[in-house]
Amino acid sequence: MNHAVRETQQMDIRIDSDVVRVRQVVRECAQRVKLSLVDQTKLVTAASELARNTLLHGGGGHATIELVHDGRRSGVKATFRDEGPGIPDIALALVDGWTSGSGLGLGLSGSRRLVDEFDLASQPGKGTNVTVVKWAR
């Protein structure tokens, strides 16, 4: 995912209200690159799921929200990273309905469907990094 970055915002994800702030910043960015209303809604929903995972499963971490361009189109890239326990079995974590806790197990699998690009990297004991991109059409 090597796209030209035009602008970057970093945010901490430590408490509940940080998840709300992530949603707000992602929405602002989505509006600036003129994503359609449906695509804005999809991206913000995915960001909300991933930020909550960073907080609940990763024990807190950071989000980086970027305006990106690939020569043809503009988009929003959102990266969520933590230094939590990591995901031992990534394929399993991406199965619809699989949860290690009491969730619905839709956060990862669902947000993957809601974006154009999805990258999940995780190392047990080291942490997790999820990157998503949504392009304006």
Partner: protein
């Protein structure tokens, strides 16, 4: 932290979500509603989400929880006013909201509650209203 007001209109409780709620506020709302339903003996709950810009798995689960909760108190729950973009996103996210009743707007939501309530009480003459609303 935001506290969502719960209004009472007749025997219906109305919750209108106007701000982007953090998770703890969602949980508070769930508890507040349970208390209000049991304290008032309300027969129905309407959750108006016409101002809500996204529904993720957390808030979606709240709808399902409130629906089940209200049933324990012999009350029904209807979620009204879902925006089209929210509906499309929910389907793609994979959230089915299985046992949660939805209606296009507040008006229809209240009508549905009335029909369900009358049917629970076994009152005659509700068959027609029920079929008009497509309820089985």
């Amino acid at each position: 932290m935001d506290r969502v007001p719960i209004l009472q209109i007749g025997d219906v409780l109305l919750v209108s979500i106007q701000v982007d709620l953090q998770d703890q506020s969602v949980l508070n709302l769930q508890e507040d509603l349970a208390e209000r339903i049991s304290a008032t003996g309300a027969s129905g709950v309407v959750i108006d989400i016409s101002a809500v810009e996204i529904v993720d798995s957390f808030i979606g689960r709240m709808f399902a929880t409130i629906a089940s909760l209200s049933q324990l108190f012999d009350a029904d729950t209807v979620v009204v006013g879902m925006r089209p973009a929210v509906a499309i996103t929910l389907v793609e996210l994979g959230l089915t909201l299985g046992n949660v009743r939805t209606a296009l707007d507040l008006d229809r939501g209240i009508k549905i509650l009335r029909v369900l309530h009358e049917r629970r009480r076994g009152l005659p003459g509700t068959g027609h209203a029920a079929s008009t609303l497509g309820l089985r």
